[in-house]
Each structure stands twice: as structure tokens, then as C-alpha cells.
Symmetry: none
Subunit: 220 residues, 2 copies
């Protein structure tokens, strides 16, 4: 995941870079718009953090030119809120913006949000080699599609959204079967059984908690 940080102030660039690198992003720097454009021409970035106020070529113009080359998500940095009021009229495809003074933590959070959105990972739940993509209604293990029955799918989804939390059979029944299900508790057991079978090596992440129910626990 590579990010380009464009700002004329080296201090700001450094702070941003350090924070992003701490989150395992790879970061390049550019001191002005032209340098940024050159870099975009030669390398692929997943996101650009771009300051508006820059001496030679402002963030505005820079973005225009970059968007002609490649469609890369952009987070804009502005010195003051007012600068944005100008900006908003010119929707050039800004994905997000942050006003200075900004907290690097906030910036990192926004970067993460955008890269996720961009890579369509919003509705994916990932636990090691097991992924559930709710939008696609797909479950994969090592990128290989796993077909589950509807109940199994709902059950797995419930486990993943509540991973680390012990769920009683009753909770699972009301959550998945509905509050008006008056059947046997042990129906859950059967579905857990088949779900475990279908999940193969990942089946073991569904732990049995005696006298309580089940729990999805990845790692340990």
C-alpha cells in the first residue's frame, strides 16, 4: 500500500510519513506539485495526501493534472477551514480532507478508511485465510470459494461479527432463526457441525463452550 505525501513543509511531510509508516504504509514524499506529478507518472500510488497551499503550484492545480494521468484517491490538507469553502465548489474528486492543525492519528484513520473503501474491503471480514464478503455474499478460504447453505452463512456471519464473544444457543437462535422460533436448542449444534465441516481447516476457530454455547476465536 503506497502513499504519496505532497507538502512544501518538510516538517509536515515527516510527521505524516512517520505516522503512516508506523501503520505499515510505504510513503514517498514530494515537495511541490511538479515533483508529485513526476512521481505519479513513474510509480503507482494507492493514495495521495496533498497540501492545498503550496508556493509554485497549488494543490488544486496539482490534483487536476494528476487526475488526468491516473485516478488515485486524494486526501487534501488545508491550512484553514475557509480554504475549503472555496474548494467545495470545485469537486475534482477529493475523497476526503483534513484541516490543519490536524492530528496525525485522524489523518491515518482517514487514510485507512479510504484505502479500504477503494479496495472494496469495507464489508469483508478477514480472519487469517478466512474471509467473508457480505456484499458479494461470499466466503473464501485461501481465496477459494466455499459454498455454504443460507443458515450456515448467517451463522458464520454472526460468529464473525461477534468474534471473541461467547454466544449462547438461544442468542444464536433469536439472532438467526428469529425470536419466534420455538424449536430445539440443539438445532444450532447441527448447523455448527455442518458449518465446521464446510470451513475445513478453519472450522476449529468455532470453539465450543460447554454449558454456554459457541464462540468464534481466531488466533490462540
Amino acid at each position: 500500500m503506497k502513499i504519496l505525501v505532497v507538502d512544501d513543509e518538510a516538517l509536515i511531510r515527516n510527521v505524516v510519513k512517520e505516522y503512516l509508516e508506523a501503520e505499515h504504509f510505504k510513503v514517498d514524499e514530494a515537495g511541490d506539485g511538479d515533483e508529485a506529478i513526476k512521481l505519479v507518472n513513474n510509480k503507482d500510488y494507492d493514495l495521495i495526501v496533498l497540501d492545498i497551499m503550496m508556493p509554485k503550484k497549488d494543490g488544486f492545480q496539482t490534483m487536476k493534472e494528476i487526475k488526468k494521468i491516473k485516478n488515485i484517491p486524494v486526501i487534501m490538507l488545508s491550512a484553514r477551514q475557509e480554504e475549503f469553502d472555496k474548494l467545495i465548489g470545485f469537486d475534482l474528486g477529493i475523497d476526503d480532507y483534513v484541516t490543519k492543525p490536524f492530528s496525525p492519528k485522524e489523518l491515518v484513520a482517514r487514510v485507512k478508511a479510504i484505502t479500504k473503501r477503494y479496495h472494496n474491503e469495507e464489508d469483508k471480514m478477514i480472519f487469517g485465510s478466512l474471509t467473508l464478503d457480505d456484499k458479494a455474499h461470499e466466503v473464501r478460504i485461501d481465496d477459494k470459494l466455499v459454498t455454504l447453505t443460507p443458515k450456515e452463512y448467517d451463522l458464520l456471519k454472526c460468529f464473525l461479527t461477534n468474534h471473541h464473544i461467547a454466544l449462547s444457543r438461544e442468542q444464536l437462535l433469536t439472532n438467526i432463526w428469529g425470536y419466534d422460533f420455538y424449536g430445539d436448542d440443539r438445532t444450532v449444534d447441527t448447523h455448527v457441525k455442518t458449518l465446521r465441516q464446510h470451513l475445513g481447516k478453519c472450522g476449529k476457530y468455532i470453539k465450543t463452550i460447554r454449558k454456554v454455547g459457541y464462540k468464534f476465536e481466531y488466533e490462540d
Copy 2:
């Protein structure tokens, strides 16, 4: 839970230290930034209370350097509100701040809030190295998972929620076994035995009270 207090004024350090120690935190002191950095290199702290205005190296710079070594939550102390206005632009990961003159109680409250948040301990019962996470239905000793039988788990949970309180066998029976249990009193003894075994070094916190029953008593 270890805390490092960094301030050039010994008086402030002492006040903070005393208050934190009253809440069973372990506290180290540093009189300047370099001393603090040295300590961070050698020891593990859960939180740092850091004064901004210090003669040789200010809190700012100190924090920058500390964050390069380890990611430890920081509470900043400033003399006046205005100092923060400068600071906020360069938020390098401050978790909270307190302006002087501050109430020690408030500081302690913030310290507690942050350490809890940081260790995700909102719903955990913690007694030294023993933790019970009821949501996850998990018991750990020194972060190592301990497997208990259902009755042992219930028993421990009952002891922890009523720590410091003597519980008769009858109370335990009605609480855990149910009011309609007509078995032997001695049943409790057996389960206390196995529970103690499973708790290892923490087993000794379950005290026997002759002629009465048992009590969970954690002492520092």
C-alpha cells in the same frame, strides 16, 4: 501497571506520584526529557505523564523521541491553556492532556480511563495477574488461557463479583447450583479444590473461612 512521570519540578512529580500510588500504580520519575527517554528504553511503561514546559528538552520533543522507541500512551501537562493551541497542530499521538493547576483526582481519573481503554479492559475483572472476561467467557493468568469447567467458571465469577465478601456454602449453592439443589454441602469444597488447582498460583486468593465458607481476597 507502570507509569512514568516526567516533570522538572520535583514537587509536582511527588504529588502526582503519591496520588497514583494510592491507586496501586507503580510510578517512576524523570526530571527531564533525556532521563525519561533513557528509562523508556530500559523499562516498559503503560503510560507516561509528561510536562510540556521543561528547561532542557520540552515535552514535545521528548514525546517525539519516545514515540520512536515505543508506542506508549501519553498524557500531557501544560502550564496554561494557550500552550496547547500551539501543541494541537502537532499532535503526535497525545491521548489526553491536563492543564495546570490540575486536580490530582482528575489526573488519576484520566490515567485510569486511558489505561483501561488501551488494554480493552472495559468488561474484564482484573485481580493482579488473574483476569476474567465474561463476554469472551475466558479466564487468564499472566495472559495465559486457563480452561475451567462450567461450575468452576461460575464459582470463580461469583467469587470475583463478591470479592472481599465471605460466602457460605449455602449461598454458593443457591447462587450457582440453584435454589432447588438438594445435594451435599461438601460439593462446594470439591469444586473449590479443583478451582484452586486450576488457578495455580492464584488459587491462594480463595481463602477458607472455617465454620463459614470461602472468600476471594486479593492482596497486593
